[in-house]
Symmetry: C2
Subunit: 210 residues, 2 copies
């Protein structure tokens, strides 16, 4: 069976988003600083149809994140903000050509027909994380399923013992509050299996032992 | 001027001690797991007069922690548990030959004459962290001053803008509660300058920019 992986950027004090998140400020105060490392890379920019950027260890990491991924799972806030239901006209944050290029399974409480966009189809799953995983695995075939985020989606799969890999990008900032990643997840057995260091971020890949 | 460094082991969820710390259980529930990595090293064991242990990257890190240190600062709980005052007969946790082999300045609210032990003298400082630092710097000469712990002592120096280096040993366990290291410290500018990885722990040395 293919692996269920996840990757997310957190601050050194453990937050995946800053304080006072809202629909207008989904990353919270200071939260955009979490993502400066990846937005500055050449590989991320190319993947999002942009030019320029740095070619460095972080760019190699960013490129590796989309390799071998057959399907994505994401939380509802990451698709479209808030808890929904969304208007049918609302097609999410990701523009008309989303950067996934694979089926995406969105965890939500609100049924919706699949949303077919250029290269990416969003499927809305209302019957729980195990159903979303089964559907994503079927779509991914031999390839991995990756949780694109956010923190709550990763928490749920980690707590349920369904996650095989947690790849953390630890940015050397302190947000002082916000949405914590590693709480309410029980006591999984984690093993660091790869560490890549740069001046901007420390990438630590943890295997989750069942 | 010599540097003020610090080093401490934390769990992946950011705790320097587990939940429900007490005089009988100063590391809190599960907290002893934080220190398994260092206790297992040959260099730490030799430094504490014990035989055996592993010779590996972690052992090299443990050895580096005591190199070039001219004086230590520590919190009162790390010297002797609780907040004091202690009976004059209480000579701290560290045995008759403490592993410091340098002057140690203990932050406390209770005056006490210096405690001279084999190779180490404990000085009790009641007039604040800046005084302790000045005294430690005078004792250290050209060598560095290191905060031996615990979390609160590091927090105070970091919040006051007096710290030059924060060396974290991140152990891949989740304690789920306890004493957090990185809170109430403001927003220092941190730069990761060295990362050493092992299966047991990820060592990240941060420079603190003033």
């Amino acid at each position: 069976m293919s692996s269920l992986t996840s990757q997310i950027t957190i601050s050194l004090d453990g937050f995946a988003a800053g304080p006072n998140q809202s629909l207008d400020d989904p990353l919270g105060e200071g939260g955009e600083r979490l993502h400066e490392w990846i937005v500055s890379t050449a590989s991320w920019r190319a993947h999002h149809g942009m030019e320029g950027g740095e070619r460095n260890a972080d760019s190699d990491v960013a490129e590796s994140l989309v390799e071998g991924v057959g399907a994505y799972i994401m939380g509802r806030k990451m698709f479209g903000g808030g808890d929904g239901p969304w208007e049918e006209s609302w097609r999410g944050w990701w523009g008309e050509e989303p950067p996934f290029h694979a089926p995406v399974f969105v965890l939500t409480h609100h049924e919706r027909e699949p949303l077919v966009m250029e290269g990416t189809t969003f499927h809305f799953v209302t019957d729980g994380i195990e159903s979303a995983l089964a559907q994503a695995r079927a779509a991914a075939g031999d390839q991995d399923v990756t949780i694109a985020g956010g923190a709550q989606a990763i928490q749920q799969y980690l707590a349920a013992g369904l996650l095989d890999e947690l790849y953390l990008h630890v940015v050397p900032i302190l947000l002082g509050g916000g949405e914590r990643l590693l709480e309410n997840v029980g006591a999984p057995r984690l093993e660091p299996v790869e560490v890549i260091a740069s001046p901007a971020v420390t990438h630590i890949r943890y295997r989750v032992h069942r």
